[in-house]
Amino acid sequence: MRSVRPAVALLLALMLTGALGLSGCTKGSTDIVVSGSTTVEPIAEVAGEDYAKAHPGVSVLVSGLGSSAGIEAVGVTRTADIGTSSRDLKDNEKKLGLEVIPIAHDGIAVVVNPANPVRNLTLAQLRDIYAGKITNWKEVGGDDVPITLVNRDESSGTRDAFTKFVMGDTAFNLDAVVLPGTGQVREVIRRTKGAVGYISEGFVNGQVRALAVDGITPSPANIASEKYPLSRKLYFLVRKDLSPEAQGYVDYVLSDAIQEGAVREAGYLPVNPKGGPRK
């Protein structure tokens, strides 16, 4: 503390760090950048961790910014090697010439509080509930309890799918609580008697009850066959010039280790439950 030398030392350290950082760019590691749907993010992340462990020198960087951002990152700005999406490509996105690889099935379960006697809703009823036309459970055969709507945020792939399957062009009732996470939706429905929400089928547990839609229960079989009306696939999107490392990663995601592990853990169904990696 005799002089300001610490300050000078700090400055030097800063420069050194900067220099190190720049030289760090050139070291021989390969990054696989995976970016896109928050729905796919957990699977991609877990697979990335394991893949990087098995392949020293490769690191997989996963970010979840939404399906649109992912498609843009891989197809337009080329900042990502792999884009992930929980929806089909839109027309203008199809022009990008990306290869579409399904990696999982997802069924969206409509969930209510276990104390709610309602067991089934038609798609039309569901739409009216979320549009705010039906506001009390007695209108759909339940108790005289006002409906508390729980919605997901607009960046959520689950909401995207729900909009597509149920709402169509009908606008959501703005009065709905918008929650940014599956666990939160489940928790709010667990503690609120009149609440209704939607989450991936894999996250349905004893705390909430999944309803049948149009008389079809969200069972794994019904989701895989897409008989259940709220079923969809999750995708990887890659360019034609995919690097061998990234291809290896894609194959790994399609292998049993991830399909039976992370995919199920994340609440989804494997895309090919029996087969191994496929081209």
């Binding site: 002089s3 800063l14 960087l61 970010s63």
Partner: protein
């Protein structure tokens, strides 16, 4: 300052109203005094209650986090990686990322902030430029963190093509820390008694010699306190880091690598709501870190008082 008067104040608190009672002879006066005293006591009781509520809120939040988080804390939780879809396991890379980005932001912000404060306190003439600089520093301190985050994204990441990385986040965070360190340093420098400077000038030292050899060393403990508090602010920051550092779980080696800070990790866990246990653990670790920093700042302040 406060210590100088605290004794007087204590004495006055006892003497003030009490002394009046003795001199009051008149019955009506006494009744009025009684009423005043009642009002006084009621008001003071309300103040006690208000302070009590504030402290109770603090205790509630701390207890809540500690009780829920403590069972999670173990070497395994601290030193292993999160794995699986709902981030089971530990939080080690997020701890490292947090320390990394905070340290880097410190390295960037400290020299600039300290020298800026030296300018304001020692060199600048009071005038329009100083007013503008002060106003800018105040404004910088009050920029909402989400605005800072969007700026970081648009400026460092998009305009300068830096990746979402430690460096981008550190640059944005350093803007956030700059006014805090500046203020602390300036106050510290102004608290240096002027006779010390006169002594230095009297010996023929130049202004820079005086500043670097006399003023800054004297002010150092308070500057360090300011630094530590700014660090605490950076560690707990979420919105800025969210848009500049990304959220990939990664052990950063170079400043150009992405990572996930503890605050962002906590935010994601809490918002997702699947693995709340890890969220409690992370919250506790975050609070512990900031608590330790606070203690450190306090320790430095106390030591410095003794030296004086």
């Amino acid at each position: 300052m406060r210590d100088m008067f605290s004794e007087d104040r204590e004495r006055l608190k006892e003497l003030g109203p009490g002394a009046m009672d003795k001199t009051a002879r008149n019955e009506a006066k006494r009744a009025r005094l009684l009423k005043e005293r009642l009002a006084n006591n009621t008001a003071l009781a309300v103040l006690w209650v208000a302070a009590g509520i504030t402290v109770a809120a603090l205790i509630l939040i701390i207890l809540y986090v500690v009780i829920n988080g403590a069972p999670m804390i173990s070497p395994k939780f601290i030193f292993t990686w999160p794995h699986g879809v709902s981030a089971k396991g530990g939080i080690w890379p997020t701890i490292i990322s947090t320390l990394y980005v905070t340290g880097l932001a410190m390295l960037i912000a400290t020299p600039v902030a300290v020298l800026a404060a030296v300018y304001l306190a020692e060199y600048a003439k009071q005038g329009r430029i100083v007013t503008v600089i002060r106003f800018a520093a105040d404004s910088l301190a009050s920029v909402p963190s989400i605005v800072m985050g969007l700026f970081g994204l648009a400026f460092f990441v998009e305009a300068f093509h830096l990746p979402m990385s430690m460096l981008s986040a550190a640059l944005a965070l350093s803007l956030l820390m700059l006014p805090i360190i500046m203020r602390a340093t300036e106050e510290a420098i102004r608290a240096v008694p002027r006779y010390i400077r006169w002594g230095s000038y009297g010996l023929g030292a130049t202004q820079w010699q005086t500043v670097s050899r006399v003023v800054l060393p004297w002010a150092m403990p308070r500057i360090i306190t300011g630094l530590v508090l700014a660090m605490g602010r950076a560690i707990g920051e979420t919105a800025v880091v969210f848009y500049t550092m990304g959220m990939a779980i990664n052990m950063p080696l170079t400043p150009l690598e992405s990572g996930r800070s503890m605050a962002v990790h906590l935010y994601l866990l809490a918002v997702d709501g699947i693995n709340l246990k890890a969220a409690y653990g992370t919250a506790l670790m975050l609070m512990l870190m900031i608590f330790l920093l606070n203690m450190f700042a306090r320790y430095i302040q106390r030591r410095y008082r003794k030296v004086r």
